[in-house]
């Protein structure tokens, strides 16, 4: 989803944080589908990705909670288990790569939170009128011993960012529940049931848009609302904005610059009604 990447790039440029693309990377690979097939292959590909930046002394920033979890888990697992590290390095030797130690891996949401004061000073457009349902998702928080970021049962960091932008963040019943995306692989109906529960709770709380910090959750909310409506006869049509898209709007970027028309549910009309973007 290039629009998510584009918004992040714009936001971090404004915050004077230098980002470069991590070239030659493979899939992280994802922490749900790939280790289910072969845990060792998962650790090996993850370690290969970490090894790409180790010598450059860069940190890895990812917009995806799944990538962050995988890379943090690989760091953790190999750091705790020298025998596993040796096995993985023996695998990597076949392509002339080696992982020595730890690479700092961070979620872009964490980086934003750590720079919240600078961010506040750059806001040019209040997002007043947006009633946001924050969906933290699973891998942004858990397993908390390894992710080591927000409280997995009472998270606040994303809410604080949303409020700093002038928007409201509303509480709703199934706030911490999974979006259901991984179940699309096993049982689509159950995946829709989980999403239906979340959307119903959000609606009852009186929200007008949803914010996510994971592209997988984004796909689930933005593209599967239609499937939920079909199954349940509902009329959910909540625009979904990835966190950096929301921030970019507050930093003065418009829907065109952000490519918001490429979303499944277009946020333009709502943003115009709230005077967050102009009516042109």
């Amino acid at each position: 989803m290039p629009f998510i990447e584009s918004s992040a790039k714009k936001v971090f440029e404004k915050l004077d944080i230098k980002m470069t693309n991590m070239e030659n990377a493979s899939c992280c690979p994802d922490p749900t589908g790939f280790p289910a097939v072969d845990q060792t292959a998962w650790l090996t590909l993850g370690a290969r990705n970490l090894s790409l930046v180790e010598n450059k002394k860069d940190d890895i920033i990812s917009l995806c909670s799944g990538c962050v979890e995988t890379l943090k888990m690989v760091n953790h697992t190999l750091g705790e288990d020298p025998a596993k590290m040796e096995e993985v390095n023996n695998n990597l030797a076949k392509i002339d790569k080696k992982l020595n130690g730890k690479v700092v891996v961070k979620h872009a949401g964490q980086l934003l939170y750590e720079n919240l004061d600078v961010l506040k000073s750059k806001i040019v457009k209040s997002l007043k009128g947006l009633k946001v349902a924050v969906h933290y998702g699973c891998h942004f928080l858990s397993p908390s011993e390894i992710i080591q970021w927000d409280n997995p049962f009472e998270p606040t960091t994303v809410d604080e960012i949303v409020r700093a932008l002038g928007a409201e963040s509303l509480d709703y019943d199934s706030r911490l529940q999974c979006c259901g995306n991984p179940l699309l692989k096993t049982d689509k109906d159950l995946a829709y049931d989980l999403l239906y529960k979340k959307l119903s709770d959000m609606k009852n709380a009186g929200i007008n848009c949803i914010t996510v910090v994971c592209p997988s959750c984004f796909l689930q909310f933005d593209y599967q609302q239609r499937a939920v409506n079909k199954k349940y006869g509902t009329e959910f049509k909540f625009p979904v904005l990835y966190l950096t898209e929301l921030v970019a709007l507050a930093l003065g970027f418009n829907d065109k610059e952000l490519g918001l028309k490429f979303h499944g549910i277009k946020p333009k009309k709502m943003l115009q009604e709230l005077n967050i973007i102009s009516n042109e």
Binding site: D38, R48, S144, Q224
Partner: protein, 173 residues
């Protein structure tokens, strides 16, 4: 149904993840599990751990229940005994795969990573949209390198190439 106890299977799970032994069957995992709630307990993480402790290999591998785990990690967060349920379920899934029982969506995603290095390849429309949004072209991994690496550890032998691999799971825009 006859239940066969396979001690070796239990031993192997423990050798991958020793936390299995700590479970005292309190059912906190099932209580917090969103899929257990949705399926009225048909998916039951406590029972899967119990079956692992008892070495009921056939039951775990013949029935596809373990694949219903979302990996949301809520059970791992709350487990008073710090049992790493999602990792233990991965070990069980890895056994299913070795026995040729890999669900199609998992198989097709794994094939995509094997062949291209990524689960969702950078297709022409995606590259075009990147340019529209002012993003520079991006160089992903040389697929040959990933193929060499994964083949060297026998990953390709785990997958089924006889089934269609049209995975249109989410229509990634």
């Amino acid at each position: 149904m006859t239940l066969t106890i396979d001690y070796d299977f239990r031993k192997q799970i423990r050798s991958y993840n020793a936390s299995l032994d700590y479970c005292f069957q309190c059912s906190t995992c099932t209580g917090i599990c969103p899929v257990a709630q949705l399926t009225n307990g048909d998916f039951n993480p406590r029972k899967l751990i119990e079956a692992s402790l008892l070495g009921l290999k056939d039951m775990l591998i013949e029935e596809p229940k373990v694949w219903y785990c979302l990996t949301c990690q809520k059970c791992v967060e709350l487990c008073p005994q710090k049992v790493e349920l999602t990792e233990i379920f991965d070990v069980i899934k890895n056994y299913c795969v070795k026995e040729g029982k890999i669900p199609e969506a998992f198989n097709s995603q794994a094939i995509s990573v094997l062949e291209t290095g990524v689960a969702l390849p950078f297709s022409d429309p995606i590259m075009k949209r990147r340019r529209q949004l002012g993003l520079e072209d991006y160089k992903t991994v040389d697929p040959k390198e990933i193929k060499t690496l994964l083949k060297s550890i026998g990953f390709d032998k785990l997958l089924r190439f006889d089934t269609p691999t049209t995975d249109k799971k989410e229509g990634g825009k």
